[in-house]
Symmetry: C2
Subunit: 151 residues, 2 copies
DNA sequence: ATAAAACCTCAAGTAAGGTTGAGGTAAAGC
DNA sequence: GCTTTACCTCAACCTTACTTGAGGTTTTAT
């Protein structure tokens, strides 16, 4: 029987609601760490539970694993991260989330104002530029890609 | 020289701000249509410009190509879609966008508290109990062990 | 002691949304 | 007429985030 500070991969998976294969994958990607017992099986300290939960939370914000990894790399590795450490991460992510929300709100008003009312055919539509006048000269239809937060 | 109601793929690509390969891909997926000229080259009617722009707009909302295809399939195919037709699509997408914005706002308001204080382990944590179905970014719902994730 | 459950590695597969390249044809410009 | 640009098909590849499966070992339970 392993004690609570010496978790098996199955325990971690169950308690975090992820599959064992996900933990293998995260370890391979450098997002979490483990050591091995005498029989070559992975063991984790409790710390990993929070890491995995934070990874999942950040994914909901839309942060990629690569960026999550970078953020986790800023945590201290000489001691267990404390409340302040986690707070610093979440503050950054909250700001990204705010930017994303702002973008989506702008997009929503474009949908309302442009697609909804039919002005898609007009040259000043932010989503779609007119085809007639701009056809031979300008760059043509200008999509929102330029300012996209998401893409 | 092709006239304006008889667009080449290059023209469509340039005016919509996408690559030629993207148009091939969309056609293969049934999102747009074309006919062929004598030399087997694709030709499009102007209609396609709006379709592609709407596809791009919907993608920014977070709609998958499969769902966009379904939505586009509700457009009339006996006539060019009019204002009312596009309105129906955009209204649905706007509602999805609103739901998504609401979800992200809820997520934002709980992000610092959850990550910082450790309530990730609790059954009332908003991050894990919000409508995960709306979290179309990132993987789906994560069902945590209600009793003991972190402790 | 033995069987079942859990774990291991490594390769391959999945899904979305495209992109890239090879080998060849068509259209446009001078 | 010749050359460059544009277009064609088909297959393979890319990225993200994992999952699945085969074949084999370790732990745990009875």
């Amino acid at each position: 029987m392993v004690d609570d500070a010496n978790l098996t991969i199955g325990k971690v998976a169950k308690r975090c609601g992820v599959k064992v294969s996900t933990l293998h994958f995260y370890e391979e990607k450098g997002l979490i760490r483990s050591w091995r017992n005498q029989g070559n099986q992975r063991r984790y300290k409790k710390d990993v539970l929070r890491r995995v939960s934070v990874i999942k939370a950040a994914q909901k914000v839309g942060i990629s694993l690569a960026d999550i990894k970078k953020a986790l790399a800023t945590l201290p590795n000489n001691r267990t991260p404390d409340k302040e450490d986690w707070l610093a991460l979440s503050t950054n992510w909250r700001d990204e989330l705010t930017a994303k929300i702002n973008y989506l709100e702008k997009l929503r008003s474009s949908l309302n104002g442009c697609i909804g009312c039919g002005c898609l055919s007009m040259s000043n539509c932010p989503i779609y530029n007119a085809d007639d006048k701009l056809a031979s000269e300008g760059p043509g239809a200008v999509l929102l890609d330029r300012n996209s937060v998401l893409n």
